[in-house]
């Protein structure tokens, strides 16, 4: 396993097309995300952010080109590659009938942790994310913010080297958003690469160092936020976003 590769994610000449949806497709896409970065991926609805994230995590298979994660090709090495990253999908991706502890027990086992490791990480994460008081209650009775924190806890239980986050703060209150962003900073400080999508561009501006903007399956801007703002003579990421993608409503 090429764990010395300087890139967390390296996409070269990637092509992908849904068999039954011509609207979202990628062709000859190149993207490099360095290790330890806080990388933001932005674009209007339907631009292909979630599809790109699904391709980077191996949920979808590329038609051409290749994607490597820490030097390992994503396609064909499922078990080896999947240990390296965590994924926090946009939907609540857990069992609502179970408690946070039961969910972490199950997903921890599937992440390859031992029973002892799961117990240790469960106690630690529930404490950090403020879920310790409700650790044995069924998640379906939780507020949206609490569910988001459970979603995040499951994604990081195995201390992944790369963490993919698809709109991790959507629909939560300000306090929860701050708590989640704060925890993501802590994770990044400990060496975890963050690859993050969101429509909350002011939040993203505070969190990310490097960004890429995509539209219609193409990268339309990429680089350090400050450099991009200077280059396009914009004052904020939101203004830059509008400048690059237009004001027209998207589906």
């Amino acid at each position: 396993m090429a764990l010395t590769d300087p890139f967390a994610v390296n996409i070269t000449g990637m092509g992908f097309r849904y068999p039954d949806n011509e609207d979202v497709s990628f062709s000859q896409l190149d993207l490099k995300i360095a290790r330890g970065e806080r990388f933001g991926l932005f674009g209007p609805n339907g631009a292909g952010k979630t599809t790109l994230m699904n391709l980077m995590t191996g949920v979808l298979q590329v038609d051409e080109g290749k994607i490597t994660l820490l030097g390992n090709e994503v396609c064909g090495q499922k078990n080896a590659v999947n240990k390296l990253f965590g994924f926090v999908p946009q939907d609540f991706s857990f069992y609502q009938e179970l408690s946070p502890v039961e969910n972490l027990e199950f997903f921890g086992a599937w992440s390859g942790l031992s029973k002892k490791q799961i117990k240790h990480r469960t106690d630690e994460l529930l404490q950090i994310l403020g879920l310790d008081d409700v650790r044995d209650k069924q998640v379906q009775k939780f507020s949206g913010g609490m569910k988001r924190r459970v979603n995040l806890a499951i994604g990081v239980i195995h201390k992944p080297a790369v963490l993919f986050l698809d709109e991790p703060t959507v629909g939560v209150d300000v306090q929860t958003r701050h708590a989640i962003i704060e925890y993501l900073r802590v994770l990044n400080d400990s060496g975890t690469t963050l690859i993050y999508t969101s429509h909350q561009l002011n939040e993203a501006e505070g969190l990310c160092e490097q960004v890429a903007m995509i539209d219609s399956g193409k990268i339309i801007a990429q680089g350090n936020i400050d450099n991009l703002l200077a280059q396009h003579k914009q004052e904020s990421l939101e203004a830059l976003f509008i400048n690059l993608t237009g004001k027209e409503l998207r589906d």
């Binding site: 080896a80 857990f94 039961e102 599937w110 992440s111």
Partner: protein
């Protein structure tokens, strides 16, 4: 192994918290078994213990018609009521008296029977060479038919047995009259009562012996027929919970997350099969226990368990595995829980119909008989019936278990293809 154990624990917890699903898998089939067995038991008793109400309007005044009414009474399967001659329509009177059947004996019945007997007797005398010159061969005249009215709700099979019983009574009356006439023609004195009884009532009995593999002669009843049949139906009813659970997992985000973890989805499928196989075995244990211990308290015959318990357990496990495999297959190919539940419910009713749970497969014709062979329920039912009704052993049901296993493996393969096609594994 720890991954599998954690997955089994998760599936048990999710199932345990799905109270509606548990009710569907346990309470509904139990109610079904009790209701269907009670109804079938009533039908069994209708023929064996209870009596069918029959209304007779005798428009005749002769002795043969009186004898006919008496003979019908003596059959034992009817509760006879006699209707006044003055009433115009027996069909109108039947609902008033709760009669399922009505018979009208025509006005000249006795005279026609007597005339027919006389003709038969004269012809017999002529054949014996005992007839005088005045007696020539005569044409035997027909007796005017009796008319049988019946309530249309009466099943065809029951109506045919009623018709058979009435034919037998009519035969008895006509034979008696012919015998008396013939005896009188030969001896010029009435037939002695003892001789008449010896000739007409001393019938050779028929012993009924249910065929069994182990030599037991216990008579099958509604419980022995229905409990195994509806237990199979209950096992396939897990589709209502399991099919939906597979779809729910597939369409919810949890499946996406599972796909990004370093574990094969096969573990999830094995876990579901283990957990729900346990559910089907528990269903069978509960329903059989109700048959054995509860049925006698609610007036139903107790279930008599088979002597070969190993064969019973093996059949239950294979049947349960087949039911679980089918539920997962439907779940994999369905896009929504509504599709899974709707198709699942209708398909198991169809499989039950063609499998012989509702109509015996031996009574099916042509294409339906072939369809029965591809219904897993048919093979489960045949195996259970061999054990419960015929006292069979494991070796006697192998020819049922092998096709059942083959069908199960085919379903598993079809599921695998579905998972591959939908990029789920």
């Amino acid at each position: 192994m720890y991954k599998l154990w954690a997955t089994i624990q998760k599936d048990i917890r999710v199932l345990w918290r799905d109270k509606v699903g548990i009710a569907l898998m346990f309470v509904m089939p139990i109610i079904l078994v009790i209701v269907v067995t009670s109804i079938q038991n009533s039908t069994f008793q209708l023929v064996s213990k209870n009596k069918l109400s029959i209304l007779i309007q005798n428009l005749d005044t002769g002795k043969s018609s009186t004898q006919m009414v008496k003979t019908i009474n003596n059959i034992g399967m009817f509760k006879v009521s006699v209707m006044d001659k003055s009433e115009k329509n027996i069909a109108d009177a039947m609902p008033r008296t709760d009669a399922m059947l009505g018979i009208v004996i025509p006005a000249n019945f006795s005279a026609k029977v007597a005339a027919k007997s006389k003709s038969v007797s004269d012809n017999a005398m002529a054949s014996f060479g005992l007839a005088g010159d005045s007696i020539t061969k005569k044409t035997v005249g027909d007796v005017d038919p009796l008319t049988l009215y019946y309530n249309p709700v009466l099943q065809e099979s029951l109506r045919l047995s009623v018709k058979g019983a009435l034919q037998s009574a009519l035969q008895m009356v006509e034979s008696r009259e012919t015998l008396r006439t013939l005896y009188f023609s030969i001896n010029e004195k009435p037939l002695p009562e003892k001789l008449e009884n010896d000739m007409l009532n001393n019938r050779t009995p028929i012993n009924e012996v249910p065929v069994s593999k182990d030599g037991t002669k216990s008579t099958p009843n509604a419980t022995q027929h229905n409990v195994p049949a509806w237990t199979i139906f209950a096992m396939f009813f897990v589709i209502m919970s399991l099919g939906g659970s597979v779809v729910k997992e597939k369409v919810s985000g949890s499946y996406i997350r599972l796909k990004t973890l370093p574990t094969s989805y096969h573990i999830a499928l094995i876990s579901k099969q283990v957990v729900y196989l346990g559910v089907t075995i528990l269903q069978a244990a509960v329903i059989f226990s109700i048959g054995i211990w509860l049925f006698p308290y609610i007036g139903l015959p107790a279930l008599n368990p088979p002597s070969d318990l190993v064969a019973l357990i093996l059949t239950t496990i294979i049947c349960g595995w087949c039911a679980v495999s089918y539920a997962i297959c439907v779940g994999v190919y369905s896009d929504t829980q509504e599709q899974s539940n709707g198709f699942g419910a209708v398909s198991i009713v169809i499989l039950a119909c063609v499998g012989g749970l509702m109509v015996p497969s031996f009574a099916m014709q042509g294409a339906f008989k072939t369809a029965a062979d591809i219904s897993p329920m048919h093979w489960c039912l045949e195996a259970y019936y061999t054990l419960f009704l015929e006292g069979g052993k494991l070796k006697d049901i192998l020819n049922n278990l092998i096709p059942l296993l083959i069908i199960t493996l085919i379903i598993q393969f079809v599921t695998y293809l579905g998972l591959k096609r939908k990029n789920l594994i």
